[in-house]
């Protein structure tokens, strides 16, 4: 192989370089650190103020909710869950792409992940933070739920949790997921925090210094570090699959027609990846432009994500079809009615919004032109985000509003509090994300350098030249 000493241009044609331009180690460090080190731009302040305002609206709405009760939302009997759990599942789903990119693609040695994994992991965390509002605040008495849901040893009550309940599984799954994602993200950040520390002075140096734990890049440290990173990736992979599986158990374990189905775990996981990648695209297309990181987050990265969206979108579409087929094929009349009712009942608009956004829109990614056009993929990703929200709403509300006994059927309409709380969670998410891009390296500097080193080797010695 060494005979085919290829020049860099040739390499670029065969496998497009993941780091564009004349990047050096130094320039990678500079490009990424510069975002944090330069004076805060006015645009950031505007965006941040707006996000904080929206996040504060969420805080206000939640305070109002806690003060007066779930009745301030539109939930009713029979629709006991509505926007609350819809939003929860939606946000948790969005979180999945981050873990997927950082863990699964890491295990598959997909080097293209390095430019986006940091931001995607951050997105996971912030999405989980937004999602986590709901399991707590959707309860009628959150001030009790906050500690009665966890197995705290207690002598005054002698009470424990019911470990048969999927909601209790959820408590464990979501808190584990949040914790492990945070750890994973933090471990990845340590060397880069050290980079920022070494470039900073004064208080900033102390702060970055404390959080980088005194990282000094010793070979003996890298050895444990790489092992830890790989184990975390290995743990996160089944974890991320389990989280949405368990979220889907909230429905699948119930006896409600439309919920009680074995297809839910894979269907939910695929949907989560689908929506997560859509959100990564939404954020990254904006971020790479705003932060001038086009040479690090390249079209190649975006195109790969579009391919993942196309694939998972088709899995999701297939699941929609299977659900309908099984409802008919099973001969369960309640099940069949539920599905016919989804498509043609009072919530038909939600169902067809879901189908259009989730099944039809991703089909454009069959075309390379669409996969490589930033505006097109941005708009498509927004549609997919909307479609996936509708998917959860369709599953939750349409199954609940007409179940077994027609005498108990009802209809759900959201209130302003529902709507404002949801918008508020977006504010929370954006606030955290803006803080992230302002104070932390948005790209995994040391990892990109690792890739750069390998590409340099390729450039110097040709494919497979080293070793």
């Amino acid at each position: 192989m060494a005979d085919f000493a290829l020049n860099p241009e040739m390499v670029d044609k065969v496998t497009p370089r993941l780091v564009k331009g004349n990047s050096t180690y130094k320039s990678v460090t500079d490009d990424v650190s510069r975002i944090v080190e330069t004076k805060t731009p006015r645009e950031w302040w505007i965006a941040f103020s707006l996000s904080v305002a929206v996040a504060l609206m969420m805080v206000g709405m939640l305070a109002y909710l806690v003060a007066f009760g779930i009745g301030t939302w539109g939930n009713n009997s029979p629709v006991g869950w509505a926007w609350d759990i819809t939003n929860f599942v939606w946000w948790i789903g969005i979180g999945h792409a981050g873990t997927l990119i950082s863990a699964i693609l890491f295990l598959f040695r997909q080097k293209w992940r390095t430019s986006i994994n940091r931001a995607a992991e951050a997105m996971t965390l912030f999405a989980v933070a937004a999602a986590a509002q709901y399991p707590l605040f959707h309860t009628g008495r959150p001030w009790r739920a906050i500690y009665w849901l966890f197995p705290v040893p207690n002598t005054d009550l002698n009470m424990w949790q019911n470990y048969r309940s999927p909601l209790e599984w959820d408590v464990f799954a979501v808190s584990t997921y949040g914790t492990v994602s945070l750890l994973f993200w933090y471990v990845g950040l340590i060397p880069d925090l050290a980079t920022l520390r070494d470039r900073a002075s004064g208080v900033r140096a102390y702060i970055y210094g404390i959080f980088s734990l005194g990282w000094r890049g010793a070979a003996r440290h890298w050895r444990h570090y790489e092992m830890a990173y790989m184990i975390l990736a290995g743990l996160s992979t089944p974890l991320v699959l389990s989280v949405h599986t368990i979220v889907s158990f909230d429905f699948a374990v119930s006896i409600l027609p439309g919920w009680h189905t074995t297809i839910f775990p894979p269907y939910f996981v695929a949907g989560a990846i689908f929506s997560g990648f859509a959100m990564v695209i939404t954020l990254m297309t904006v971020a790479r432009w705003a932060l001038k990181l086009e040479h690090l987050i390249t079209i190649k990265h975006l195109e790969n994500m579009c391919k993942v969206i196309l694939a998972t979108g088709m899995i999701v579409g297939y699941a929609y079809g299977t659900e309908f087929f099984i409802a008919w094929y099973s001969g369960n009349p309640y099940e069949l009615f539920t599905f016919v009712n989804r498509a043609f009942g009072p919530y038909w608009w939600a169902y067809w919004s879901m189908i259009s956004c989730n099944v039809l829109v991703p089909q454009i990614f069959w075309f390379k032109k669409c996969r490589t056009s930033v505006p097109i993929m941005f708009i498509a990703s927004i549609f997919i985000n909307i479609g996936m929200w509708f998917e959860r709403f369709v599953i939750i509300a349409t199954s609940l509003h007409r179940d077994y006994l027609p005498g108990s059927w009802g209809y759900f309409k959201p209130t302003m509090v529902d709507i404002c709380t949801f918008i508020g969670t977006m504010g929370l998410f954006m606030t955290l994300f803006l803080l992230f891009i302002r104070f932390l390296p948005v790209i995994a500097i040391s990892e990109v350098k690792g890739v750069l080193a390998q590409e340099d080797q390729v450039a110097k010695h040709g494919h497979g030249a080293h070793h």
Binding site: D156, L157, M159, G209, G214
Partner: protein, 214 residues
């Protein structure tokens, strides 16, 4: 020059240890101090009348049921009307200044406002008659009231504490006629006596939720 000196490392470690120890002891303290055993046990408010249970129930040997007469019949162990006090105190110490509120109450018809010591939450439905007829003595929950000048709470009255006995009642079961004998000391193991009575009376305390919460 390095950002942190050797001294910093020491400070950091000391700080970490301090925070860890502080957090742990904080949790421990909170767990301890928020427990009903600590919060409620020992509650001894000042009553409007300096009534001594020790004098009446202990020294004079009055039966609990002379005043708390509904304890075998009802959920609630009645606090006696002023009338009951005056049955004796019309003759006994009729001039005592301590009894002024009692005499006032009797004369005006306005009740004496006693402070409640043994308080259960509204969602707990405790029934005295069910316990007393089973042979659970007053002393099991209220302690040696016959030795208290002013009554105080001696047991936590927490759910865990209730359940302890509901699950394993033998130690607290005695012949029903002895329930008000607070000083009862059997010549053999009380739990053994309890077990015999349990078998004979078929005592099976509920441990399911609606046993107490309705």
């Amino acid at each position: 020059m390095p950002i942190f000196s050797k001294k910093h490392d020491l400070i950091a470690r000391a700080l970490a240890a301090f925070v860890a120890v502080g957090a742990l002891s904080g949790i421990a303290a909170y767990t301890y101090f928020s427990h009903p055993k600590v919060i409620d046990v020992g509650y001894q408010p000042k009553q409007p009348v300096p009534y001594s249970h020790k004098l009446h129930a202990g020294d004079l040997g009055m039966d609990c049921r002379y005043c708390h007469n509904t304890v075998e019949k009802a959920a609630f162990a009645a606090i006696p009307p002023t009338e009951t006090c005056m049955n004796c105190h019309a003759q006994v110490k009729p001039e005592s200044p301590y009894l002024q509120p009692v005499r006032d109450s009797y004369a005006t018809g306005k009740p004496v406002e006693w402070l409640k010591i043994h308080q259960l939450p509204d969602y707990v439905f405790f029934n005295h008659s069910a316990h007393v007829t089973a042979g659970v003595s007053c002393v099991s929950c209220h302690g040696r009231v016959d030795q208290m000048i002013e009554v105080k709470q001696v047991e936590p009255l927490s759910m865990g504490w209730c359940l302890e006995c509901h699950r394993n009642p033998a130690a607290n079961i005695r012949p029903a006629e002895l329930v008000t004998n607070l000083a009862w000391q059997p010549d053999r193991d009380p739990a053994e006596i309890g077990r015999e009575i349990i078998a004979q009376k078929k005592i099976a305390p509920p441990v399911n939720c609606s046993g107490c919460h309705r």
